[in-house]
Amino acid sequence: MSSDSVYAKPVAPRIIVRPAMVSLTLHALLLGALTVNWASSESEVVKVKPVPKVINARLVDVSEFQPKPKPKPRAKPKPKTTPKVAVSKPKPKPVAKPKPKPVAKAPAKPAPKPKAEPKPEPRITEEELAAITRADMARAMAAEDEVLEATATADEMAASYASLIQQTVVNYWSRPPSARNGMEALLQIQLIPTGDVVNVSVLKSSGNSAFDRSAVNAVEKAGSFPELQKLPNREFEKTFRRFRLLFRPEDLRY
């Protein structure tokens, strides 16, 4: 349309937009970082997914590494053992980004950071910078590995117990004929350290009371998960004192 002119559009002056953008981005990152850190200190945040094997690292050129200002939320890994174990939602992982271990032994050539540092800093030489970066990286990596290893064990443990609970409940779940694929009932389960179910409540109904009842019955019939007694107390409190079961059939005729 010819009547459309650029002047008709209200254009925000760049002088406002760009700083606003920068500020917003920074705030977002800051909030993200804070949340991640806060979440990692908050012991309730639990990842049940089996942690991907971070050990089988490939040899990576140091140049691939852009020193990151902060640990980046790790991509949500696919469950390895059973596809049905899931965490509440893809959660920004407190775990640091997996870094391959052998980096320290990586080719000793200086690690230039071509994009991050386009112009040389006058006060530090390139070798010094490379050395600092390498040392920092090695230190950071060692710390990360430690955290990662501990987390992986806890996560793996949680995942295996979650999968055990899942399988037990599957074996006890008889759906009513009115059940349809895609129906969803969310239950909250409370356990005591003996593994006994002490409370089952419907957090979100499927809208079909027979379906909801079948889900509650599956947990009641299971009654107890005595294997959880083997779980360290800390892990039990963290993950299984209270958890949720989402009943969402996928294997019905329709």
Partner: protein, 432 residues
Amino acid sequence: MKRLILALVPLLLSVVVLSARAELTIEITQGMDNPTAIAVVPFAWQGPGTAPEDIAWVVDSDLARSGQFSPVSRSDMLGRPSTQNDIFYRDWRAIETEYLLIGRVSAEGTQMRIEYELYDVLRQKQAHKGVEVGPVNEARMLGHRVSDAIYQKLTGIRGAFATRLLYVSVTRVPGANDYYRLTLADSDGARPIVLLESREPVMAPGWSPDGTQISYVSFESGRPAIYRQNLSTGAREQLTNFKGLNGAPAWSPDGNTMAMVLSKDGSPDIYLMNLSTKKLTRVTRHYAIDTEPTWMPDGRSLLFTSDRGGRPQIYRYDLRTGSTERVTFEGGYNARARVAQDGRNVVLVHQQNGQFHIALLDLVTNRLQVLTSTQLDESPSIAPNGSMVLYATKHAGRGILAAVSVDGGVKFRLPSRDGDVREPAWSPYMSR
């Protein structure tokens, strides 16, 4: 720029939302679908002498026949409570009972009263209670109503036990004409009542949508004619007397129209009769055989069998547009369709490897699933709640009635007296 800002907003929000939800959630997407264990304790009889009918046994048998329940054997019951105070949940949990049904039956004059209570053994609380009152001679029907209530409560699907069946039985008489009987029975085959007895063939029984009238074809006048009959008054009306074929009457869902097959104008075609004016409208006009019309639950289209493509297949006629489309494509023989109330499941006779089976066609996915493994299965009729299919088959050289659940998982045979039994028709829900 703006787009970037817009993209950041949900990101910020999601970070906040995610951090608020920290609890572990385990997803359950599969199940085992075992039948529900229920104990139907014999109901306490609170009248003189012995109870006229074992109501609890009627309920027990109904639930068992549905395949959705596995009733606890009476010999395994550690107690026979009839009131809440008598229940020891431990006893029932010990034999892995999930639900417990108890009740009390009393009679006053000709009226029977059934009070029943359903208990959830796992949660140790009452799940449902109800009362059924009716004539003593309808005691079994009252029991079926209790079954309906329990079934609905526990499966989420309306029960169809308090319904009835029509079927035709034929008794061979050597050296003379056969005996044809049109029989009405409870949904479990009990209490058969002969509505019509004839030395000439009786065929194609069907129900009015409110369950108060039936229709059928009788040759009693020497040639086929369509009749309708009121079940409570016995009043009978002959609807057709045309030359040639008069057959396959099918009541429309609103009860005002009857679809039928007439050959008065040549080859058999589908017609509609307005039941108040008796005016006929021709629906199909084809040199091939068009027969076995049945209504979709919305009353807007008809399914029928036609061999216009060379072999019998199911077609659908749209009453608004007048267009016809083929519905079945799998196999060389698909006939005599009946539609479930959901308008999605169609049961029909399907030929596979030279044998005739009952199959279920899903109109949404177009998937055809063979339900039966016997070889001369015919005349499927679906329960008003869509859960079971009744059909006629041969057993030990004799025609019998059998039923199969729509998932094919449960099969049973209905008891029938001597003679060949054929053409079952499951009633709609009966009004009280």
